[in-house]
């Protein structure tokens, strides 16, 4: 089954993956060690693009949720779910990568610092959005619930971003061109583009699957509430009672 969206999704994913390999080759073998952290500092190239990606895909899901509530079209509903899922995968990766980076640098896997706490809330909030979606059978109601929950959960996205600005934290503040030396900037930016393309590609592929599922659901006849009990009487000829 090939279509334009399938080709586009697969191609974007493949290009994103290839760029990711290039970025990490540069990050691991070409870029210098970080002056304070040494080789451990190379997690920068994994962690920061994942963080940007997670926040961006949740932003995409937020926009799609508005589109879904406004238009009521199932394409927006499928897009909301696809991007919430991609964002949530990235958020879980983010928490794991961050812990692995924190142990050798900060000296602990976890601390309830504002950035870490709000990020954990982010994973939980969008986890609930996905759970909610699984629990509702009626398509129109499910689409509305998914979109409303996505808009509410999205509140945490700007909070995560500004947490290091608003409150005292152990996590470092937002980095910029001024705070990252140029030989380190190159792999970081390539990895960021790679994660973005990979995420878009996966979102498109997931969107297709969800859309097909929604269409199939509408086309299929309603299932009975409970399976009819099996009637075994006389089937095997065994005496009853």
């Amino acid at each position: 089954m090939t279509s334009r969206s399938y080709v586009a999704g697969a191609a974007l994913s493949a290009i994103g993956f290839a760029l990711l390999v290039v970025a990490h080759y540069l990050g691991l073998f070409v870029a210098p060690r970080e002056a304070m952290m040494g080789d451990v500092g190379r997690i920068l190239y994994v962690h920061v693009p994942t963080a940007w990606g997670a926040l961006l895909f949740y932003l995409g899901a937020f926009v799609a949720a508005i589109g879904s509530l406004w238009s009521g079209r199932r394409g927006w509903d499928a897009a909301t779910t696809a991007m919430v899922e991609v964002g949530t995968v990235m958020t879980f990766l983010l928490l794991v990568q961050g812990s692995l980076w924190a142990r050798p640098t900060w000296g602990t896997y976890w601390t309830w610092d504002p950035r870490l706490t709000t990020s954990a809330v982010l994973a939980a909030a969008f986890g609930v959005v996905l759970l909610l979606r699984r629990l509702i059978d009626q398509p129109a109601r499910r689409a509305t619930a998914t979109a409303v929950a996505t808009i509410v959960a999205f509140v945490d996205v700007p909070i995560v971003y500004f947490s290091v600005k608003w409150w005292n934290s152990l996590h470092q503040p937002v980095s910029s061109r001024q705070t990252i030396d140029s030989p380190m900037m190159q792999p970081l930016l390539i990895a960021a583009v790679a994660v973005l393309l990979l995420g878009i590609g996966l979102s498109v592929l997931r969107w297709r699957v969800e859309l097909a599922r929604l269409l199939a659901e509408e086309a299929a006849p309603d299932l009975p509430d409970a399976p009819a009990p099996l009637d075994l009487s006389g089937a095997s000829g065994a005496p009853r009672g």
């Binding site: 808009i151 509410v152 509140v155 608003w166 380190m184």
Partner: protein, 152 residues
Amino acid sequence: MTQAVQRRLFLVVALLVAGGALGVIAMGGIGENLVYFWTPAQLHQNSDKAVGATIRLGGVVQAGTVDWQQGDQLLTFTVGEQTVDTATPVVVKAKGAPPQMFREGIGVVVEGTMRKDGVFAADKVMVKHSNEYRAPTEGVDPESLYATVEEL
């Protein structure tokens, strides 16, 4: 009410709730209740609450104050204010070796409690990394990056 009107009503309500919640948090509504660590100055202001309670103190390890007793595994250092050194620095005592990046002049967050004698007894020493990522300076031995507290 048609379905479309109901959906758009949901949209407006959801956006209002989301915007309102964000506004309250951004305007500092929960800011004061969300304190990850106290600076030395804040610790002195709240000295009555600091003794016996589990708290965190954040600041900069003052130059020339680090003392590591290998035998007792006892680390002593002084934490000062991040920006201005007006507030009285706090003496911290911790058991065990600190993280590898620990050194003079670096940001730290320590978890523990204030003793009655004004010394901060830390259970946990965490090192803060800034948002700066720099290539090593020419001529610096890369192995010196991995100096541990024993070599300080």
